[in-house]
């Protein structure tokens, strides 16, 4: 690996306009494609199904990554991870509102 001293890396922002294929999303989450498919079936993440192949809004990467880590580390299934994620997001929203009171 080359030394990176002094070099400034410019990345590519995954905003709403960027989509990921199933292969890209599973690669980024470091899981098999089947596991991503399971998350879709559980409604944790939603691909754009208008196209022939699934395309995921890149903003789903965060949700997918969290779901995958929760499943692996807490040894829970996709439905359990889905519930945890929904509750976590609700708590985060409430905390943010509390903070602004």
């Amino acid at each position: 690996m080359a030394e990176d001293a002094g070099r400034v890396f410019t990345g590519y922002v995954l905003d709403e306009s960027v989509t990921l294929t199933l292969t890209e999303l599973s690669g980024a989450c470091r899981v098999r494609e089947e596991q991503i498919i399971e998350l879709v079936e559980e409604g944790v993440i939603e691909p754009d199904i208008r196209k022939e192949n699934w395309m995921f809004p890149s903003t789903e990467l965060r949700r997918a990554g969290r779901a995958v880590r929760l499943q692996r580390d807490l040894e829970i299934n996709a439905a359990g991870a889905a519930l945890v994620l929904d509750l976590l997001e609700e708590i985060e929203e409430l905390r943010a509102r509390l903070g602004s009171l």
Partner: protein
């Protein structure tokens, strides 16, 4: 290197059953999982715990670890005795704790394995795309307004001169572009693990997280803040100054504004093609009646204004 007391980390007895250990792990995992936990240093605690569980959940590794003896204290300088693992055979199945980086202590006992390669390997031959990596980068809200360069420290596995896989710290300077939002990812192509056999390197995904800000709360591209105003500014109307991360702007307060009134400053949120808005909630600040003159003014109001703040409560 330092000796690690895996039993102490897991909070179990040395003669705990495998079931006890599993239970302890589950409980701690729920408490310290970095995606769930609000505890300070959850990430570090969680990694330490995963390492402990990796050893204790496997009867073979646990037996080998136990053989070191119970007299070691956590943090004590440790060197594995020669032939310490004679007679033990490790299956090499390293759970699935894939992004965690285990300690030197662990590696000196059990070696380092690529614990995460499995699910990702597909296609034939010796060519394989390197793994993608993940890290978080903490940025200031102001960075989203002006752009910035932030450094990120990564723990990356790398092959050393003798061909062993080791953990290496690596610091990258990364450009944070203007308009970045909380939770967004920045992809750095080719900055993940090197590919095998001339395969393409993986990518590095950086998840952007804003440090909490004393003034603004961020929701997507929108910002929220409280703005204190004087009672007469709210009652009579005024033009006041509002600090925004992009600079100070003027805001007109309508006469008769109440506390809690929310005003929108269009386009003053995080800049983008469709910039966010800044929402300002008015807070009425009470001037202290600290000196005679102020007290006199308050008394005048009391005597001359017919105002009952509890009228709606019927008292």
């Amino acid at each position: 290197m330092e000796y690690k007391d895996y039993y102490k980390i897991m909070g179990v007895d040395r003669n705990a059953t495998q079931d006890d250990i599993k239970r302890a792990y589950r409980k701690l995992a729920r408490k310290y999982h970095p995606d769930v936990s609000k505890e300070a240093n959850a990430q570090g605690k969680f990694q330490e715990m995963q390492e402990a569980y990796e050893v204790l959940k496997d009867p073979e590794k646990r037996a080998a670890y136990d053989q070191l003896g119970a007299n070691w204290k956590a943090g004590q300088d440790f060197r594995p005795p020669p032939d310490w693992d004679a007679g033990f055979e490790f299956s090499g199945d390293f759970g699935g704790a894939d992004e965690s980086v285990f300690s030197d202590f662990f590696e000196s006992l059990f070696g380092r394995q690529d614990r995460s390669g499995r699910g990702n390997r597909r296609g034939g031959g010796f060519q394989g795309r390197g793994q993608d990596h993940h890290a978080k980068v903490l940025v200031d809200l102001e960075d989203a307004f002006h752009g910035a360069t932030r450094s990120v420290t990564l723990q990356a596995p790398a092959v050393d001169d003798s061909g062993r896989l080791r953990t290496r710290q690596r610091t990258l300077s990364v450009r944070i572009p203007k308009g970045i939002k909380q939770g967004q990812h920045i992809r750095l192509a080719g900055q993940g693990s090197p590919g095998m056999g001339g395969g393409q390197a993986g990518d590095l995904y950086l998840e952007v997280e804003f440090k909490s800000h004393g003034v603004y709360r961020v929701e997507g591209a929108d910002l929220y803040m409280d703005l204190p105003v004087a009672p007469w500014e709210a009652a009579l109307g005024a033009k006041v100054k509002v600090p925004t991360p992009g600079g100070v702007v003027d805001l007109t307060i309508a006469p008769g504004s109440k506390a809690g009134t929310r005003l929108r400053l269009r386009g003053r949120g995080i800049p983008a093609k469709n910039p966010g808005d800044l929402y300002v909630t008015l807070q009425i600040a009470l001037p202290p009646a600290g000196d005679d003159r102020s007290r006199e003014l308050y008394e005048q109001m009391r005597n001359q204004m017919n105002f009952n703040p509890r009228a709606a409560l019927g008292v």
